[in-house]
């Protein structure tokens, strides 16, 4: 893990969970797994605060614990999970596009709370939806829970590992650290298998009973406090892997749409959707699909004849992009999507785009040239790229100093004399991607810093406007006159208003950029992950 990653993690923790959690989390990220006492000592935080912070982190799956051989519990933070906080807006947005407002709110609630039982989630979402609706209308629990079930069905949500209720648990020897006894027991009894499957169906049926019992939300709230929830102990969380798979598919579809046309991208979308369930998220290829199957699964709105589909498939398989490959002839031709290749192509396109924007299109030409030809001498680069020798030299050295290309020496004689050595330029996409990824992390950290700075600068103003808004709201509730309201509104002067507008604009812009950078991060991370999985 790098300094940039730790810095970004720390900022994210600080922003979402506050100072103490940040301190504990960052300490764990820096030092690896540590027992509670040491965390408390080294961070100079009281034990009960550390415990609370750890609770928060564990609730959000950012920290895991395990029993050391010596009999004490160690906590370990996972930086990859912390970095996913950055992607929360994207998860939520995707849930919205796929499952509407209800889906959006369910995913949002689950992300905000880390883990939740289905009944509380459904209740909360229904409450929130009801609030936004007109008076007299209310969101039906059944509707919300059916969306919930659909999210589970499509693997976007899965059940958290729950403690195993075994008789041995009771007889287990007292843990070394009594304070952690419950945790320790949980830790040993976490069954990994109970993610979806049977439990899910049972839950939905129970919940249906649940909703029919209690009609309105007012009643329900009272009921909440009285009786224990029916699905107590069964918690759900967002399956980020599944979302990532979806993002990856979208990136592939987008690339096809850019390069070729809408229809081709729609065919690829269909293929990816068909193989969603059959292909594991880290496979390098999808399962082969026959052209007949694809034809049957095409969305109804697309009036493509089988003949045209075959032509499109042939074109896709023929394209130098090689996203789609032909794997056999049975069933009218079998086609696979080469996921690894697609990610590699997207990642090198990202690198090319970076070179293009940073060093200009001539430099990008040289970069692509080396990427295509693998190893080239300086003279060859000049000749192929048709760039004047002097400029080409400059550009190559610039790329070299930024570590985007590297220099391979091949000596003709064992003495490595420069005059008798070939100097070949080459690109290593994997290491360049890693490098760029670090740059992305630092960029996001910088953006967050800047955003915090902007809000801090205008803190007084923000507080004032909030106060005034509160006053106006309360006065409206009591039915104040129009003139009175206006008077209060005028307490914020015109320049102040302008400043507030500018601040809002700035913050929005920085926020949008954070999400954009995260898209780059996602592509690079997926590529690095899929490459390291391959070897």
């Amino acid at each position: 893990m790098t300094q940039a990653e730790i810095k970004l993690c720390s900022l994210l923790l600080q922003e979402h969970f506050g100072e103490i959690v940040d301190k504990v989390g960052t300490y764990l990220l820096r030092t690896g797994s540590q027992p509670l006492r040491l965390i408390s000592n080294d961070t100079g935080t009281p034990v009960d605060q550390v415990k609370k912070a750890l609770c928060v982190l564990i609730q959000h799956n950012l920290v895991s614990y395990q029993l050391n051989k010596r009999g004490f519990v160690e906590y370990e933070a996972h930086h990859d999970r912390v970095l996913r906080i950055l992607r929360y807006p994207r998860y939520i947005y995707n849930a919205k596009t796929l499952y509407g407002d209800t889906g959006e709110l369910i995913v949002e609630e689950l992300l905000l709370n880390g883990k939740m039982s289905m009944s509380t989630a459904v209740k909360k979402v229904a409450d929130r939806l009801t609030e936004t609706m007109e008076d007299g209308k209310a969101m039906d629990y059944g509707e919300v829970s059916s969306t919930f079930v659909r999210l589970v069905d499509t693997h976007f949500i899965y059940r958290c590992p729950a403690p195993l209720e075994s008789p041995e648990g009771v007889a287990a020897p007292a843990p070394v650290a009594p304070l952690l006894s419950t945790n320790e027991k949980d830790m040993y009894t976490v069954p990994k298998l109970s993610m979806i499957g049977k439990g899910k169906r049972r839950r939905s049926s129970e919940d249906d009973d649940d909703t029919s019992e209690q009609q309105t939300k007012r009643q329900k709230k009272e009921a909440d406090s009285k009786e224990a929830l029916p699905d107590d102990g069964i918690y759900w969380q967002v399956n980020t892997e599944r979302f990532h798979q979806h993002f990856r598919d979208q990136a592939i579809i987008g690339a096809i749409a850019n390069k070729m046309d809408q229809v081709s991208s729609e065919i690829v979308r269909t293929m990816l959707r068909m193989s969603e369930v059959t292909t594991s998220s880290n496979a390098s290829h999808t399962q082969p699909l026959s052209s007949n199957e694809i034809f049957r699964s095409l969305p109804a709105g697309y009036n493509i004849s089988k003949q045209v589909l075959d032509q499109y498939l042939a074109l896709l398989a023929d394209d130098p992009l090689e996203f789609v490959g032909r794997s056999g002839d049975s069933g009218g031709g079998m086609f696979v999507i080469n996921l690894h290749k697609a990610l590699a192509t997207l990642s090198s396109a990202t690198l090319e785009s970076v070179v293009q924007e940073r060093f200009g299109s001539r430099c990008a030409r040289i970069f692509r040239l080396i990427l295509r030809k693998r190893h080239l001498e300086q003279k060859q680069v000049e000749d192929f790229a048709m760039v004047p020798a002097k400029e080409a030299k400059d550009m190559l050295y610039q790329l070299l100093s930024e570590n985007l290309v590297f220099l391979q020496e091949i000596p003709k004689t064992p003495d490595h004399a420069p005059s008798r050595t070939f100097y070949l330029y080459a690109v290593n996409t994997l290491s360049s991607s890693r490098l760029l990824l670090q740059r992305c992390y630092k960029t996001v950290a910088n953006l967050i810093e800047r955003r915090l700075f902007e809000t801090k600068e205008n803190k007084r103003l923000l507080e004032k406007s909030q106060r005034i808004e509160a006053i106006i709201a309360s006065m409206q509730a009591t039915g104040a006159e129009e003139t009175q309201l206006q008077e209060i509104e005028e307490m914020i002067t015109a320049p102040e208003r302008q400043q507030l507008e500018a601040l809002k604009h700035n913050v929005n812009r920085i926020d949008a950029s954070e999400n954009q950078v995260d898209e780059t991060i996602f592509i690079l991370e997926s590529y690095i992950e899929s490459t390291s999985a391959k070897h």
């Binding site: 987008g254 690339a255 850019n258 390069k259 046309d261 229809v263 081709s264 045209v308 032509q311 499109y312 042939a314 074109l315 130098p320 992009l321 192509t345 997207l346 396109a349 990202t350 090319e352 785009s353 970076v354 293009q356 924007e357 940073r358 299109s361 990008a364 030409r365 040289i366 692509r368 040239l369 295509r372 192929f384 790229a385 048709m386 760039v387 004047p388 020798a389 400029e391 760029l436 740059r439 992305c440 630092k442 960029t443 910088n446 953006l447 810093e449 800047r450 700075f453 604009h505 700035n506 812009r509 920085i510 950029s513 999400n515 954009q516 950078v517 995260d518 898209e519 780059t520 592509i523």
Partner: protein, 314 residues
């Protein structure tokens, strides 16, 4: 014995030389010692050697080494005539330059090969240049390096740089214009194909253009003052490939089809990039020149970053 030798020299030397030259003229590919021996059986080896040495030193014969042994060949009268009146050193330098062909040779290399002092060589080169026997050509590879070659030779592409150079200067603007024109041509073709609303296969196939078509288009445009070959255009099209704007396929073509080379035809078509500028490049940090020096609390930090301020005001 000595008497005989002197007599022989005086009377017959010219005759022997003439005989040898005649022999050489009969066999323009060269003759060996054996041939001379057969033709002039009465000649003593000593005299033969003497005669040949004389011919070699006057530049009428060339000595070559072949698999069968030494080979004598007559020098063509033209080159012999050209360097008439020059001394041995000049001849030597001339020969070295002649051997270098149309690639030319650098004066320092002449020095290594001839073992003459540099000042001497410079004098000889000046001499030869004034006689219009050789010429100096500036190489594009190194602007200060002059190479010498025979006066009547057309310099090699590696020396002049081909169509892309005028006086050792790379015409990057010319290349850029050609690059744009080729792309425009391919793009128009691709757009026309897209708008034709035909089946996808035909659409794609009609978006391809062979290098010959592009060549014809560029020639008809008349933007180039120099004659461009198909290879030149293909070099330009290759730069478009490295720009990521064009892709190429090779198809088999019948021999004799217009634009086919060795039964192959290179087809090019314009393509769209697969991604838009990536997210990080839309932030100031992506382009920041002082990115590595930027730390919160430091001299350069995100809070006081002027690039960010400008970007936010934009």
């Amino acid at each position: 014995m000595a008497d005989v030798k002197v007599k022989l020299e005086a009377a017959d030397v010219a005759e022997i030389e003439n005989r040898i030259i005649e022999l050489c003229q009969q066999l323009p590919r060269g003759i060996t010692d054996q041939v001379i021996q057969n033709e002039l059986p009465h000649l003593e080896p000593q005299h033969r050697a003497m005669a040949i040495n004389r011919l070699l030193s006057t530049g009428q014969l060339d000595l070559l080494k072949s698999s069968t042994g030494l080979l004598y060949r007559i020098k063509d009268a033209q080159s012999a005539g050209k360097i008439k009146g020059s001394d041995n050193q000049e001849k030597l330098v001339y020969q070295i330059i002649e051997d270098a062909g149309n690639k030319g040779i650098w004066s320092r290399d002449i020095r290594y090969k001839s073992n003459l002092p540099l000042t001497e060589i410079n004098k000889i080169l000046k001499n030869l240049e004034s006689k219009k026997l050789i010429k100096a050509v500036k190489s594009v590879a190194a602007s200060k390096k002059k190479v010498y070659m025979l006066y009547n030779l057309q310099p090699d592409r590696s020396v002049t740089g081909g169509a892309w150079y005028s006086d050792q200067d790379f015409e990057s603007e010319f290349v850029e214009v050609l690059n744009q024109q080729c792309f425009k041509f391919l793009q128009t073709k691709a757009e026309a194909a897209r708008d034709s609303k035909q089946s996808p296969m035909i659409q794609r196939n009609s978006s391809f253009a062979s290098s010959h078509e592009v060549w014809k288009f560029i020639c008809e445009l008349g933007i180039s003052k120099v004659e461009l070959s198909m290879d030149d255009i293909e070099t330009i099209l290759n730069t478009l490939i490295y720009d990521g704007k064009v892709e190429m396929t090779i198809i088999a073509a019948k021999e004799g089809t217009v634009g086919s080379v060795d039964g192959q035809m290179k087809l090019y078509r314009a393509v769209n990039p697969i991604i838009h500028p990536t997210g990080i490049m839309r932030t100031p940090c992506g382009l920041c020149p002082v990115f590595d020096d930027c730390h919160e609390g430091g001299e350069i930090s995100p809070s006081n970053c002027t690039y960010m301020t400008e970007w936010l005001e934009f």
